[in-house]
């Protein structure tokens, strides 16, 4: 898979399908692979469109050590043949999703910055 040039510099990202629990209601979003993020993040508009129900809230530490709190939601997600049920994600005001280490650590990921490509495996 190729890095997305929608980011500058280009970043590894892919389409992820997010589905409301116990429902067929789903939404496909561009998600950036983010090894710095402890948890997966979805845009607030996706929370509304999927009619997700908050389950908890967490204190989020941002890059400048600022702390904000955010609500979390359980959602099913799938991409490139991988599927995960009931992943707890954070809702935030942003345009794309961030695939955090809560999901990435379930896979083997090879990032090739030289060729701006990446691969995902579940060996």
């Amino acid at each position: 898979m190729n890095y997305s040039s929608e980011y500058s510099p280009p970043a590894p990202s892919l389409k992820v399908k997010f589905t409301r629990p116990f429902s067929d209601r789903s939404l496909e979003l561009q998600a950036k692979l983010d090894t710095g993020a402890d948890m997966t993040v979805i845009p607030q508009h996706a929370v509304s469109e999927l009619r997700l129900i908050p389950a908890s809230r967490v204190s989020v530490i941002l890059f400048d050590e600022q702390r904000v709190w955010r609500y979390t939601y359980f959602v099913n997600l799938s991409f490139n043949g991988f599927a995960y049920k009931m992943v707890e994600v954070i809702g935030a005001q942003r345009r794309d999703a961030l695939l955090g280490r809560d999901v990435l650590n379930r896979l083997k990921i090879v990032l090739d910055g030289k060729t701006l490509s990446f691969s995902l495996f579940d060996p």
């Binding site: 530490i61 359980f74 707890e88 935030a92």
Partner: protein, 136 residues
């Protein structure tokens, strides 16, 4: 629209007025105050549509019940360090894995606001450091 009155320290107001005048121009204080209010609400995740707000209010009630019980739960080895689900003010489930717990309680009670959190002395913290350059 709501009209409201607030009391502000004279000196703070004078400096605020000066800054707004310098940065935004005349008669813009109201606009700046509304933006500050909006940012405050947004930063706390409450800039959401009516339905979401209703869910959030319900989950906050369940969270309140969780916080009242938290010390007691910490002292109980059955719950300490595990995830619990709180529904209608009571613990309705417990598991080491939050995913399993969510699946179980939503199956039993329906997909409704149920508060799920870890039994621990402090609130859960996550890092989302990812700074991004704004598009030009």
């Amino acid at each position: 629209m709501v009209k409201t009155t607030i009391e502000v320290d004279d000196e703070l107001w004078r400096r605020f007025s000066l800054l707004v005048l310098r940065e935004k121009g005349e008669r813009k204080k109201n606009e700046v105050i509304v933006k500050i209010l909006r940012d405050y609400v947004e930063q706390r995740g409450l800039l959401v549509e009516e339905q979401q707000l209703e869910y959030i209010l319900r989950i906050e009630e369940e969270r309140e019940a969780f916080l009242k019980m938290r010390d007691e739960l910490i002292r109980n080895p059955v719950y300490n360090g595990k995830y619990v689900a709180v529904f209608q003010g009571k613990v309705v489930g417990c598991d080491d894995e939050k995913e399993k717990l969510a699946e179980t309680v939503y199956k039993k009670y329906g997909y409704v606001p149920i508060y799920i959190d870890k039994v621990a002395p402090k609130e859960r913290q996550v890092e989302i450091p990812s700074p991004e350059l704004a598009a030009p």
